[in-house]
Symmetry: C2
Subunit: 448 residues, 2 copies
């Protein structure tokens, strides 16, 4: 059984084809590839790097299993020596990266792979697959976090995430960006992310009486009672909760919150808050879900909706308003010489790069310089060595370390970049040394 998440065949066929050509030509010099986003997607003033830990795990574990080599043999596509060459392949290269949770902008590499070209090439597809998705979701989730400071935010996206791995990684990326937890049990098991849960409409509907459903649910799970009140009539259900809660309290069961999931959430929240308050139940919170995103949260909060927490699902887990990043993993150097793609609209900056970030004295970021690794600039260098000769340089960061970094980074964002729409571009200056290298590469291309 092939392990979906680790498989070396989780790649595009052309990677294998090119590897065979590299082997045939004896091309095994060091290649430098960098992963970056070409253009900021719509509505995004900043991006948040995520997925590095999974990329490093993939590189550490890279090898072809016997089952995978069998497929390569049986496919009839490759020469006889190729499976044996693949059998020996491990990742022995270096990785430099921005730590997860770092904010970044278009053209700034967040990961660099330096390795013999076959290794660096083979991993392209999965490295992009891993970095792209978590970065996409962390960047979306960070917008939600900035919009609703002080509110409980829970990932509700498992069911409409694009498959099992997306559900898992979206919970992780959301937590990094500042969400407080997820409804997804496996994400709790795998990453230790706090897991939250309420109840579903079907539970209510399976009972002949809504009030009885509330009571049965509360008694079965007395430590964690959030009652869903929109199945039939939200305000009527709030009155039922107001009647039930004191009785449950005598049995030692505290109702923690009610949940709204449909209709005009601000209106219902105001009504329900009043019903609960009038019953002396000020300690019962209001939690809300239902097609929420940063825009609807902004609207709800601007209307003063008395909502204490939000379940944000599909919009975050699919990054619905911008469901992909225009990102790439491109060759920047081979055999000691800088390389550059010149395709229309897709030209790349050559060489091994570094990003320096300048800040005001209060910590707010003012601008970045994109330059070559050996061209120091004022400010904080964002790209750090994380793997050498295929071995990690540090133990994996904890999610909470990453989450704190992300919060610190978000606190350094200038106000205009926090805008949900029409954020101005962040200043990313390309240093003269990098421009000169690009021109030098072009001159050589013309000569060849």
């Amino acid at each position: 059984m092939i392990d979906l998440r680790k498989s070396a065949l989780l790649t595009d066929l052309y990677q294998l084809t090119m590897l065979q050509a590299y082997f045939a030509q004896g091309m095994n010099d060091i290649a430098v590839f960098e992963f970056f986003v070409r253009r900021m997607p719509p509505n995004r003033g900043f991006l948040m790097a995520a997925g590095l830990e999974q990329a490093l795990q993939f590189l550490e574990g890279l090898r072809f299993t016997e089952e995978e080599l069998d497929w390569v043999r049986r496919s009839g596509r490759f020469g006889r020596e190729f499976p044996d060459q693949l059998a020996d392949l491990r990742f022995t290269g270096d990785v430099h990266a921005m730590p997860e949770g770092t904010l970044f902008f278009a053209d700034e590499p967040i990961l660099r792979v330096t390795a013999p070209i076959a290794q660096a090439q083979l991993v392209e597809s999965r490295i992009i697959n891993l970095l792209h998705f978590q970065t996409l979701v962390a960047s979306k989730a960070a917008r939600v976090v900035l919009t609703a400071p002080g509110k409980l935010l829970v990932d509700f996206g498992m069911r409409r995430a694009h498959g099992a791995e997306a559900a898992l990684f979206a919970a992780r990326a959301g937590y990094i960006a500042g969400f407080h937890g997820t409804s997804h049990v496996l994400a709790g098991v795998e990453f230790g992310i706090p897991v939250f849960g309420t109840m579903a409409h079907s539970f209510i509907e399976a009972h002949d009486s809504e009030a009885l459903a509330f009571e049965n649910f509360s008694r079965a799970q007395p430590e964690n009672v959030t009652l869903l009140i929109d199945t039939y009539d939200t305000e009527a259900a709030a009155h039922k909760v107001a009647q039930l809660a004191p009785r449950l309290k005598q049995a030692g069961i505290g109702v923690k919150a009610v949940r709204l999931d449909s209709g005009d959430l601000a209106l219902h929240a105001h009504n329900v808050r009043r019903i609960l308050d009038e019953a002396g139940l000020k300690d019962i919170g209001i939690f809300s879900s239902g097609s929420l995103d940063e825009f609807s949260l902004r609207d709800l909060l601007s209307r003063g909706a008395p909502i204490d927490g939000f379940g944000v699902g599909t919009s975050m887990t699919t990054s619905a308003d911008a469901p992909f990043l225009d990102c790439a993993y491109k060759l920047q150097e081979y055999a000691g010489r800088a390389r550059r793609k010149r395709s229309e609209g897709k030209a790349t900056w050559p060489g091994r790069k570094q990003v320096y970030r300048a800040h005001k004295t209060n910590g707010i970021m003012t601008g970045d310089v994109l330059t070559l690794e050996d061209d120091p600039q004022p400010g904080r260098p964002l790209i750090q060595p994380v793997m050498r000769n295929g071995k990690r340089l540090h133990a994996p960061e904890t999610l909470d370390e990453i989450r704190r970094r992300a919060a610190d980074e978000l606190a350094r964002l200038p106000l205009p970049l926090r805008q949900l729409e029409h954020a101005p571009p962040h200043l990313v200056a390309v240093a003269p040394a990098l421009r000169e290298l690009a021109m030098a590469v072009d001159r050589e291309l013309i000569q060849n």
Copy 2:
């Protein structure tokens, strides 16, 4: 090690919480849940059902492993008996469904689960996760297929798919809808989908000369030569191919195609076609990729671009213009009584339903009737039994069977529903029997 794809913990926490409450109350009557799409997403005149095979596999394999039960125990969230109750849980219910590849519309169930309520409830999250994604991608891919009849269509989306499983399932869904294959090797291994590959820019850039890169690639993989010609200057590269191809032919190597990936693809395709034709290389095809979707394909083809095949990636694999479906898996009956959710904007049709589809004599579909299972109507019933008492009623369909059904279904689409934009809604009539049941359920709700 928990198997990500089969795990019973690939669920929302509230499913477990509700299960504990059902067990505590001794609620184990038969529940009927149906999966359907509430509203058609933007730009979608029809949807194509997909993912049933994976849903059935999930139900067949449903069980909690020791490792998963350990987590339940250690979580401190549940009573002492609960892990043992979970240990015994298997799926013993019935499933009815529209076969994969069937076209469907809003409010029409494509899957019904009939099982003791704990079983039917627990599987909600993963059933939605599986059906939602493949249906989303098949529906998107079908639009591409309708736009480019007779063209070779290859899924190029692995790298920007939302994780590993999305990459795998998107290739499957695309193939069902009529794509000819995928670049994703693992999808070929797992599903037997034809795998296609060309070459990457990095291969060209790693060589000091583009012409040498073409030659090395061709000699390493002589059976399947597609040369990528946009790395530096598309037309100049086409001239290099024109010089190289006759020489390779003498060595027994045929260049099959060139690939364009940037710039004005129609313009470049015209230029490259002329360059190749003038060199007598009419048999070398032109393959194109680069941010393509059904809209750009329509534009390219309307400009007469001489392109023989397309690699369609991110837009399909993320269904970029509509990255999610407003779908649900809802309780329609419990303990022999029809049930209904009345939430604002999210009310459901109660009971066990069937969809009947009428056709003109030439096969074109004219309209559907949504009604109760026991209320026969003219036309073809779309929902069929597929699993009874937890066992499949038939061997899994082959992908090619499903693909043929999908092609047949697409051929029956009336012209207006094939429109990429502003397709009118398909006629889905709700039968009187179903309306009457909904009213009866409402009357009972008022009494309770």
